[in-house]
């Protein structure tokens, strides 16, 4: 019974379309949520949606790279990165990011509707030259929109950790765009994830520095044992 569903591409495509809607909902949450713990949960859910989309797309296309991407995303973005940020977040005891630059949540939600339309118009101008199925075109639009909405998060939030989540959202958008538009070699995906990890590591460590006086900062880094450049 299940296998007959899985073998039916139309059904799978519908599932992916529903997942697209979920992705946009998570992006809207990222723009408006003030609580950092729930922001992290939203990010983990968003990454999990990426995993699911990659798996369903594999079932349609049969491209094995997609499975590898799904596995990599699961380990790095659903598990490791949220865990790490959570650890740092507990150390610096910021639970809420109340301040918004330039845009309040309602305004940024309106702006992001504009961004989605922009992505649609822009891509439909260019993709007439590519032979791309409807689903793939939709994936590209959602991917680009997600990237732009992540950028909006980076601009409109104050705290470093929320900015980092904005960056991570952008990266999820690029990943989505990538799996629907091109079959990039897997090695490149691995390199991007490594880059992502180093970036998250550095910015969150710097977030500790911003949150404390300098003497405290060194002490905290010693206890975290991340930045121990002690000469021994």
């Amino acid at each position: 019974m299940i296998s007959s569903f899985i073998a039916n591409p139309a059904f799978l495509e519908d599932i992916i379309r529903i997942l697209f809607v979920f992705v946009l909902i998570t992006a809207a949450f990222t723009l408006s949520t003030r609580n950092i713990a729930s922001l992290l949960t939203v990010y983990a859910v968003q990454s999990l949606l990426m995993v699911l989309i990659a798996i369903f797309l594999y079932l349609i296309e049969g491209n094995k790279t997609l499975i590898a991407i799904a596995a990599l995303t699961l380990v790095s973005k659903v598990l490791l990165i949220p865990l790490f940020i959570n650890l740092i977040g507990e150390k610096i005891k910021i639970s809420r990011d109340l301040k918004f630059n330039y845009l309040e949540p309602t305004a940024s939600l309106l702006v992001s509707i504009g961004l989605i339309l922009l992505a649609y118009v822009f891509l439909s101008g260019f993709f007439s030259e590519f032979i791309l199925g409807k689903l793939f075109f939709m994936g590209a639009v959602i991917g680009l929109s997600l990237t732009l909405m992540g950028m909006l998060v980076m601009f409109s939030r104050r705290k470093v950790i929320t900015k980092a989540i904005g960056y991570l959202t952008m990266e999820n958008g690029v990943l989505l765009f990538g799996i629907f538009v091109a079959d990039l070699p897997f090695i490149i995906e691995i390199l991007i994830v490594i880059d992502l990890m180093i970036l998250v590591l550095l910015t969150t460590i710097l977030a500790i520095g911003l949150d404390s006086t300098i003497e405290e900062y060194h002490q905290r880094l010693q206890t975290l044992k991340i930045w121990s450049g002690r000469e021994n």
């Binding site: 590519f130 990237t147 900015k163 990039l184 991007i192 520095g209 060194h218 121990s228 450049g229 000469e231």
Partner: protein
């Protein structure tokens, strides 16, 4: 073999720095690292027939352009490492840099050199993208190492703006990959293959891809409107790092734009992309110059001047003639050297006054004659006075631009005059201030800061080299630049 040589040297240097116990040995190993990279570069340039592929695959590619950039980078790292010996020790004694962080500082500095080198040698554009990203992260760590709040702020701004913009570049790469897949059967991001088959690529999508790639590379090289991180990061970083940020890291973005333009110019997309570059170049120069005019902070002034020069490099690329490219390439070298000497002098002045602000600088020539004169001569060089090399480079780029648009040339000339005025104003105001004029309002006379060993050598040697380059254009350099112009397909 070449890449493996670099990698092995980089790894050995990193390990040695990690094992060293004193500042002196860490610095010595770092200097050796830079010298080794310089030596490999010179050796390859003299003995090996380039362009060649590297490490048995098509991921790395050594041609004259990448060698030229790598040599500039290694030279600047060498000068910065010599300068760092005394400068960083001063920072430690002033308790601005924690002694525990010394090892981290040198290790990241050393990794940065290796990463920059690998970025320039990457043939695969995705690989180039990754290495360019990593250079942002490592250099931001060097900005933040002083662990003052303003440094951390500057580093965070730098990371988010540059890396965020680089994600748009990646979308550009995806476009390019799909585009090449449609034409060549299987997608590729190898520059050499793309350049060879450029004529087949659809101009419309190539333009879109170029614009996306441009966003990231422009942010990396401080082009308007993505330049906002640059003045903060470059002015807050320790001066040895500032010199590298301005002299080497900005070149990475320009290098990316140059490589992409070499592909685009073979297609119908060229007129549009060229206008696009000229427009952004002009805007960048204008914004930078207006920020320089009333600048009160010495290092901010130098940082905005970097933005200005990146704008001119963009103009040089956008003009797109072989001669313009030749002088743009020469400009990269001249700017990197001159800018480094300015930051090195500014570093000494900052140690002396513990401030970069115009009102705190007094009695420069009696307290710090070398840094003072170094800065004055460096200023003449950076605004493009003859006989310094930036003069001839600017002159010929603008001469080529004349055939393109006369009003563009006049606009740029006007902006350059304002830039010179900004430097002149700063010099006259800051360097003529004397503590005697203010009377004795309870202030004790400043004691001269003892410039430590190694800090004067980079300034003096750069001034010597740029003077020499200004009056005498060495033939091997001319040959090298001509080869690069040829290899990029301009002739």
């Amino acid at each position: 073999m070449i890449i493996l040589g670099y990698l092995a040297m980089g790894a050995i240097a990193l390990a040695l720095i990690a094992l060293s116990k004193s500042h002196r040995t860490m610095n010595a190993f770092f200097i050796l690292h830079t010298l080794a990279f310089l030596a490999i570069g010179v050796y390859v340039l003299l003995t090996t027939a380039v362009p060649i592929f590297e490490t048995g695959s098509e991921y790395f590619y050594v041609d004259h352009l990448s060698l030229y950039e790598v040599l500039i980078a290694a030279l600047l790292f060498f000068l910065a490492s010599v300068y760092a010996n005394g400068y960083v020790e001063s920072l430690v004694q002033a308790q601005e840099l924690h002694r525990n962080n010394l090892k981290i500082f040198y290790m990241i500095f050393s990794i940065l050199l290796t990463t920059v080198t690998l970025a320039f040698f990457s043939d695969n554009l995705a690989l180039f993208w990754i290495f360019a990203e990593l250079t942002t992260i490592f250099s931001a760590a060097l900005v933040a190492i002083l662990s003052a709040k303003e440094n951390i702020d500057a580093a965070i701004k730098y990371i988010f703006i540059a890396s965020g913009a680089m994600l748009f570049s990646f979308i550009g790469l995806i476009f390019l990959y799909t585009l090449s897949g449609e034409v060549l059967g299987s997608g590729t991001l190898n520059w050499i293959i793309l350049a060879k088959n450029a004529a087949l690529l659809s101009p419309k999508i190539l333009t879109a891809s170029f614009i996306f790639l441009f966003i990231g590379f422009a942010a990396k090289s401080g082009i308007f409107p993505f330049h906002t991180w640059l003045p903060d990061a470059h002015s807050k970083a320790p001066s040895a790092v500032s010199a590298i940020l301005s002299g080497v890291l900005l070149n990475i973005g320009i290098y990316g734009i140059l490589r992409m333009y070499a592909i685009v110019r073979q297609t119908q997309a060229e007129p549009m992309v060229s206008k696009f570059l000229l427009g952004f170049g002009l805007l960048t120069v204008a914004v930078a110059v207006l920020n320089m005019l009333l600048q009160k902070n010495l290092k901010m002034l130098i940082a905005f001047s970097s933005v200005e020069h990146m704008g001119i490099l963009l103009l040089g690329i956008g003009i797109g003639t072989p001669l313009a490219l030749f002088w743009t390439l020469f400009y990269i070298l001249a700017h990197s050297l001159t800018k480094a000497s300015l930051f090195f002098s500014a570093g000494i002045l900052h140690r002396q006054y513990e401030s970069n602000l115009i009102q705190d600088i007094k009695d420069v020539f009696s307290l710090q004659p070398i840094a003072g004169w170094g800065f004055v001569i460096g200023t003449f060089a950076i605004v493009g006075m003859p006989p310094f090399p930036i003069f001839s480079a600017k002159f010929f780029i603008l001469l080529e631009a004349f055939g393109f648009s006369k009003s563009l040339v006049f606009a740029v000339l006007l902006l350059l005059v304002i830039a010179s005025a900004a430097f002149a104003r700063f010099l006259i105001e800051a360097f003529t201030q004397s503590s005697k004029d203010e009377g004795t309002d309870g202030m004790e006379a400043l004691l001269p800061y003892t410039v430590r060993g190694g800090m004067k050598f980079p300034i003096l040697s750069i001034l010597f080299v740029i003077l020499a380059l200004g009056v005498f254009f060495p033939e091997p350099l001319e040959k090298l630049l001509n080869t690069i112009v040829y290899e990029l397909g301009y002739m």
